[in-house]
Amino acid sequence: MLPGPTRFAALPALWFAAGISANPAVAQNDQEPGFTTGLWTRGNLLGDAGGARSGLWNLGITFGLQDINEVWGNVSGGIHRGASYDGVTLLSIGLDTQRGFGWEGGTINVSAWNIRGRNIANDNLLNLQTPSGILAAPTTRLWEVWYQQSFLDGRLDLKLGQQSIDQEYMTSQGSGLFLNTMMGWPMLPSADLYAGGPAYPLSSLGVRLRAQPGGGFTALLGVFADNPPGGPFTDDGQLRGSTRWGGNFNLRTGALVVGEIQYALNQPGNGDLDYGAAGGLPGTYKLGFWYDSAPFPDQQFDNTGLSLANPASTGIALMRWNNFSIYGVADQMVWQPSEGSPRSVSLFARLMGAPGDRNLINFSVNAGITLKAPFQGRDDDTVGIGIGIARVSGGAAAFDRSVTFFSGFASPVRTTETFIEVTYQYTVAPWWQLQPDFQYVFNPGGGILNPNDPTQRVHSEAIFGLRNTITF
């Protein structure tokens, strides 16, 4: 079973990346409004929107509107050549209950997507690590609906409701620059969880506890419904039933438990005291796991123990009870010419693994290097080069070998897909980014056959893209 590329849509955690304070003794729940200063220096195109933002802010209400449009084209490889457009619009509304009606420490958040355009990964590429994290099935849907309550001056907070866990888990600041899906919500959970897990463009009901005891440490532990659309693994599309509009509050499937410990190195948080000791370069390190209690189909065997490629097979996969993964994320600035200089070089890496018998991908890694302020006078630009590797599991490869064995025809055995991405984020204004991007995918799909020419594998792909992001 090879899921279609739309399963892998995920988003760099740019919009609601949780503010992780190195010192949680200070409440961090207040979301600063983004209106300020002149057209070319403020964070929002509309600024204060004629007093609306500041007026609403004083009532506790914040709203955000972000529009992303992009074009992608492959000039070589894939199953077709050509270009296509896709885009998304995100609307979010927040309510600070303290300013709203005097209830301290509460935050309500509701958001919704409009997703449109074509999916070049489905149409032209058939690769695993799709080129853009916003590629998803077109629709307009409710996304997150949650309430968060903080306790103990912000040291603890609890989040309840419909959540997209890519906003808080497995995030990497360096990786977030890049456009490939793998650089946002990673390859492994995208391929191995039901419908890619409760991550963009989906979400699911859950509860998440966050502790920030101080010293730069943060711990997250959450339990979520594991399967946003609620269907079987083989029929779990983003448009299934009421998932189409975000109204499927499914609780009938397995439980997904996700835990993560984060350590922020050399990063001041509000409230930290500085005694004048020399500070080092900032970094963030994360270790985490997920465990899913649901049954998962074996990649190789059917429910009678025969190979799924065996003509005598029932065709019904052996179900293995539960699934799990462990992962690590590292972000570290490694060079800055002087303290306070906008120019800096940072490295990042994310690695994760999962059992090979029940998962298509049993190991994935992405890593890269970014340079901020690459040119004089371009302080807010960032250029980066990254790599992503997705290894098709031994179980899936064994299935491929069995296909050759039972059919008598040589069939490729899927192995590893690798991509390289080069990107430049040009900040026209804080509310406007233009980002040209190039990706080269080696061994697309891990080495699958080209359905248009079954004597050939899908050839390596050279892909160009341009993303335009406006924050209103």
Binding site: R42, P268, G271, D274
Partner: protein, 376 residues
């Protein structure tokens, strides 16, 4: 001595217990004011209906008068709605009890007695008699290229202009005011950073002509304050045009013990002490170094904590630095704006600073987001 201690049979154990208790008490002794702060709470947007931006001065009203209630926080804006510096002309007032922000004063952009227009600065105070006095360092284009000489504007408690104070000693009244307020008389201290400052070209020069001016005021019942004497008590501080922050010069003024006035010398990256500030008749030059460099990163507004320590905002990061003025020791600094959107975090965000009436916290502004914040 407590009875239980008298029953301790071994004197060495008793000594040990006492020493431990003494040690614990010593460890719990706070080194300064800032470690007692627990929360930073966004209080209000400071943008009035006319769209003025860039909150600078903060002053907590000492009395109720006119539109103002005691404890209200007055905040002025240096920029207009187009974010041009030196064109802001409004003062807003925030009432903590009701959490209401109101416009206190909208000063006409042009006052005949105020050379160059109106752009409100960090120099602002409210006297016990109800008069509000605010500094103006105006511009026409948002830079010092079109800088005017400026003035001090006197407002009544309804926010109406009641008079101005201008003259050769006043040029770009800039830094937060220190004040000795006796009701019928008052003494104001204000820094001036406008003398001979030119446009913010590529490398504008540092001009060592900034002053601290003392104004002795007489306030008759129902009448605006009248200046009875002007004395330049400190001079020769660096001042410099800047394309990003308009002007850099001495900004923070705070009164200490024994008549000493402390001045944050932004370009000198130091805190200076001016002795006998209320009585001296001559200039003390740039004063005596209290402390220099270290945690200071372009010190701006300054105030005095209940323990007598100085608190000063940094212009080049998001810290408030605490200084023991008696010893010159920099106790520590506290991150109050660790916004990673700037490098270093919070750089360019902080400006004004004012203690709460209860002395249990302080107000500050994050001017990049036009917010008043309370640390408490």
């Amino acid at each position: 001595m407590p009875r239980s201690f008298r029953t301790v049979s071994r004197p060495s154990t008793l000594a040990l217990v006492l020493l431990t208790l003494a040690g614990a008490a010593q460890a719990a002794e706070p080194k300064g004011f800032l470690e007692g702060i627990r929360r930073h709470s966004l209080v209000t947007s400071t943008v009035p209906a006319n769209g003025d931006q860039n909150p600078y001065a903060i002053f907590v009203a000492p009395v109720s008068a006119g539109k103002i209630q005691a404890g209200d926080v007055l905040i002025d804006n240096f920029n207009d709605r187009n974010n041009l510096q030196g064109l802001g002309s409004t003062i807003v007032s925030y009432t903590p009890g009701t959490r209401q922000l109101r416009l206190f004063a909208a000063i006409p952009r042009n006052l005949p007695q105020c050379p160059g227009g109106v752009g409100l600065t960090t120099a602002m105070t409210m006297l016990k008699s109800g008069w509000v006095i605010v500094g103006s360092l105006p511009s026409q284009d948002g830079t010092t290229k079109t800088k005017g000489q400026g003035c001090l504007i006197v407002l009544d408690a309804q926010g109406n202009v009641a008079g101005t104070i201008a003259g050769p000693n006043i040029n770009g009244p800039w830094g937060n005011m220190a004040v000795i307020d006796n009701g019928a008389t008052a003494t104001l201290f204000v820094s001036n950073t406008g003398f001979d400052v030119g446009p913010p070209d590529d490398e504008p020069p540092v001009v060592n002509k900034a002053t601290v001016l003392r104004l002795d005021l007489s306030i008759a019942d129902g009448k605006p304050p009248v200046v009875t004497r002007q004395t330049v008590i400190a001079s020769g501080f660096g001042e410099q045009a800047d394309k990003d922050v308009f002007i850099i010069g001495p900004t923070g003024l705070a009164l200490g013990k024994n008549g000493v006035l402390y001045v944050s010398d932004a370009l000198g990256n130091r805190i200076a002490a001016i002795p006998d500030a209320a009585t001296r008749t001559d200039s003390a030059g740039i004063g005596r170094d209290v402390t220099k460099d270290g945690l200071l990163k372009r010190p701006l507004a300054m105030t005095t904590a209940p323990d007598g320590h100085l608190l000063v905002t940094n212009g080049l990061n998001g810290q408030v630095v605490e200084i023991d003025p008696e010893t010159g020791a920099q106790v520590y600094a506290r991150w109050v704006d660790a916004n990673k959107a700037q490098s270093p975090p919070g750089s360019g965000d902080l400006f004004g600073l004012a203690m709460t009436p209860a002395g249990d916290g302080f107000y500050y502004v994050e001017d990049e987001v036009n917010m008043l914040v309370l640390a408490h």
